[in-house]
Amino acid sequence: MRKIFIDCPEQIPCNPCVHICPVGAITIEGSITNLPKGNKELCTGCGLCVAACPGQACFLVDTEFKEGFASVDFPYEFLPLPTVGMTVKARDNEGQTLTDGTVEAVIQRESSHQTAIIRISVPTKYAYLVRGIKPITDFVKAL
């Protein structure tokens, strides 16, 4: 199952994740600058937080996506969008390419205000390291 994974490292005043979650799986205790906690038991994997987080710090990880592969859902705000089946460079928080990934889904919801959610599959060991992909910059090819 896809479950929430939060990588929100700094205490900044921010809490849209708490309000967007329909099942109360994200909580911030006390001050608004405290770090959010994700409750994997409650999380239904809807991904609303992934698109809503202004800091792009919410992810969904499914460690049992396929034999040997995990899926990672992350926000993506560049055009063109990748397409399902495309091979992409999966990157960590520092921009290092970890591995090749395969695009499994491209989710665009009106409520997400132009932030797409991309789901890629990567070898399971990278499940909690992947934070995004190398943007697809070849506009001409993509068109």
Binding site: C14, C53, P135
Partner: protein, 366 residues
């Protein structure tokens, strides 16, 4: 006074950014005859350049993109009968509440019982050989090109400064299809939010800390820049120079409160490094050394749009209270609510310094 048609208002607000809009909404809501002046043709200040989702709480429209927040605020101001005068460049403020402006053709004179200055900030400059070459621009200018005019001012960028402005503008340049080669930062670590930095590092942009720009050169415009490592005193280290080929340098080296109008109006000034430099002394009611001149937003210390909005609201309420349009009870309860929200925005490792700096300023006003 001459007969050139001086119009009177209860409250005149200079600057229609988040602080000015917040002030206008509250003063209009309280029933004050409110005029909002701005030199631009469109209200909103920097809000309409902000295409990213904002931090904050629900009350600050967190999670919403900046320009949409701008639209919401405008709508609210219009609803409360705020009069807008756009394309009006204010050039003078007199202690009697007279505000002089021009639409470039005519002189426009207004008189207000209360004046709220929300003039915002200006971008800091950097001087280096070649800094006047075409292609050297500020980050704010790059943002205007890309997000307002929808034009890329260059192809290959070097961004100087890794504060939130530098990080956000870099992200938006990437979204617009520009090639950002590097961000360089003189400090030993990235100065903006980690989440903003992560967004662009994930996209593959390197943030080179401990480096400064030495020069820009080119025949008719920027063709290359030389950067170098700096020592702990920010002096370039010999032998560490490297050349980067690029056509645009975007400078994001900080903001300073835009104090000219407040200063010319006679407001007492103070200095706070944390809050961006010289700014008018003010108390926690946003009143300056002149009771009838209030300030809000970046003018009262460089912070963020959300804090500007709330400071504006506070100034608007204070003006309404002073004009007798709001009871002391109402004002006090609003003030407590707003100050509590501001205190939330000013806590945590980033905000706390600003809170302490603000308290220092408030003390000076007593």
């Amino acid at each position: 006074m001459s007969d050139s048609g001086e119009k009177s208002y209860d409250v005149i607000i200079v600057g229609a950014g988040p602080a000015g809009l917040g002030a206008a909404i509250e003063s209009g809501k309280a029933g004050a005859r409110t005029l909002l002046l701005d030199e631009n043709q469109k209200p909103g200040g920097q809000l309409f350049k902000q295409i990213h989702k904002f931090f904050g709480s629900k009350e600050h429209f967190a999670g919403m993109r900046g320009f949409l927040i701008g639209e919401k605020l405008l709508e609210e101001a219009v609803k409360h009968n705020v009069e807008f005068r756009l394309g009006a460049r204010v050039w003078g403020l007199y202690p009697d509440g007279c505000v002089t402006a021009t639409d470039e053709e005519n002189s426009l004179n207004f008189k207000g019982k209360k004046i709220i200055l929300a003039t915002g900030a200006s971008e800091n400059a950097l001087s280096f050989p070649g800094c006047t070459l075409p292609g050297v621009i500020t980050a704010g200018a790059a943002q205007t090109f890309v997000n307002v005019q929808h034009v890329l001012p260059g192809k290959d960028f070097v961004v100087v400064g890794s504060g939130n402005v530098g990080l956000i503008v870099t992200y938006q340049l990437l979204q617009a299809g520009a090639n950002v080669i590097k961000i360089i930062e003189a400090a030993p670590k990235i100065s903006g939010y980690g989440v903003h930095a992560a967004k662009i590092r994930r996209a593959g942009i390197q943030i080179l800390t401990g480096h400064t720009i030495i020069s820009a050169s080119g025949r008719d415009q920027v063709e290359r820049v030389i950067i170098a490592k700096v020592d702990e005193n920010f002096n370039p280290i010999e032998g560490t120079q490297q050349t980067i080929l690029c056509d645009t340098v975007a400078l994001a080296v900080g903001l300073s409160p835009r104090i000219e109008l407040a200063g010319a109006g006679g407001c007492e000034m103070t200095y706070s490094k944390t809050l961006g430099g010289v700014l008018p002394v003010h108390d926690d009611n946003m009143e300056t050394s002149f009771e009838h001149i209030l300030i809000a937003g970046d003018l009262s210390g460089i912070e963020e749009a959300s804090t500007a909005l709330d400071e504006g609201r506070l100034a608007g309420c204070r003006a309404a209270y002073r004009l007798g349009l709001m009871t002391l009870e109402d004002y006090t309860s609003k003030k407590v609510m707003i100050l509590n929200r501001l205190a939330e925005l000013r806590c945590g490792p980033f905000g706390n310094k600003r809170m302490l700096a603000k308290e220092e300023i408030w003390k000076k006003a007593v």
